[in-house]
Amino acid sequence: MPSAGFWAKTRTGVGWAYCATLVGLFGLAGTSLFVGVQDLSLRTAFTDPEAFQLLLVSRLPRTLAALLTGASMAVSGVIMQLLVRNRFVEPGTTGTNESAMLGLLAVTLLAPSLPIFAKMLVAALAALVGTFGFMRLARHLPPQQPLLLPLVGLIYAGVLYALATFLAYQTDLIQYIGIWLAGEFSGVIAGRYELLWLAGAVSLVAYIAADQFTLVGLGRGLSLSLGLRYGQVVALGVATVSMVAALVIVTVGTLPFVGLVVPNVVARMMGDNLRQSLPVVAGLGAGLVLACDLLGRVLRAPYEIPAGTIFGVLGAVLFLSLLLGRRPNG
């Protein structure tokens, strides 16, 4: 039977991708635990109580924060790309991050005493509105010009960013903008990153709806023809993307290119069937962000370079190579 061969073949391919992702992640996470200003080795970690404390309070949270941030940002990137059916967007170029920032600024000004969770919710709500605004704009653009959408998105995000900067400048909050935009993990200790678990959970929910997102990526007409409740899936997607953006911004700050580059690399290798590729998207996002954070710790030790800065450089190179290596019809 031909089907047996087919399933065996693709399953092994996917299996290898999963294995490679897992091995890479464990290697990186292991390394991350033992790299830093304070000396910490496998032996001292379990004999010296102070070293063990360092592991629990700083190294482990920092490693987990980088992994969760990378995974959830990559997942929300691929969802955004499928929602607007365009490979060249990510939440950083659709106004999602900027409107989350605006929301966060507003709540910081109007109700500074609110707990961080409530502030995050306001930011998520603002991100939701901003993202729907972008999607309304996107509907009016000709689909046969795929590069127009990211350009419009950049302008839209730029306008929102300018608004946020103006507001922050007027109210002496400008340093916050810098913190929210330059994702870095040096400040992460136990008790200050746990919101990111929620971002991870939101990404997991997205995995349950993986088939639905794949269908949305195939277009509205086809989704409707297959009986999908298109509007609901789009709303779920926008909600996911907005939540992740808000959660990442209030905890560690957003990183450029993660949501753009990672989905593109994975789609090139495994295609867009999210049921298969989403674990690899999440794994690669997590791994790359952690690798950048690691690099940031070693390059100028004992000083640190923000992971966002390193990813900015790496991501730009990767993105350019993807863009130039693109087939004319792709």
């Binding site: 693709t10 499928l82 794949t214 007409g221 023809s225 297959l226 009986g227 999908l228």
Partner: protein, 252 residues
Amino acid sequence: MIQIKSLSHTITDTPILQDINLELPQGQITALIGPNGAGKSTLLNAIGRQIEVAHGTVTLDGSDITQIAPRDLARQMAVVAQHLAVGSRIRVADLVGFGRWPHSQGRTTPTDQTIIEQAIEEFDLIALRHRFLDELSGGQRQRAFIAMAYAQDTCWLLLDEPLNNLDLKHARTLMAQLRRMVEHAGKSVVIVLHDLNYTLSWADHVVAMCDGKVVFTGPAAQVATAQSLTDLYETPIQISTVEGQVFARYHR
């Protein structure tokens, strides 16, 4: 049976469909014909609930299609659109597999698997099954989408100009497949066709449209005459019978 009652639709103030009243017979191939911009695709999309119509109703076996749950409708009616621009990288086999979505919502059963395999074989896609859609030619992609609709295994199959990108062999094969589905599996097919010869040799029923209105409709053998077609397309068309086959001559 599909019944259309006083259906009207406008796109930015331009009337596309004007007061359409129509019955589409079950168990037949119905061809929608007419010049460009006649409203054939819009009518097909209205029947397939791809667009929200401004006015009028479409009923399937007596129930209004807007009242049927999307998933139930998708098990009774499959639509293959005309413009299949695809940005996603999906493998052919995965796309065909999505035809089973309305039935199993992603949890593919062995029955689903058998039907998917059958669809892949039926539409000559075995060699292409691992390929990504964006690596295929227009005609190959079209076949993949039709195979998906076939795997959906619905009573009604709506196709918008499916012959557009197909070569002679695959165009003829497709029409023969549709004929077989109608005769042996009791399916009903509604198809937008531009080639009059395909219409005359394969369709049972014809709906001729012009300027958003139905000009004539009825059994193909009765209503598709040289005079009616000449008027419809505003082009001299002659009909002749050669060795029992009806031909339209219009190309010179």
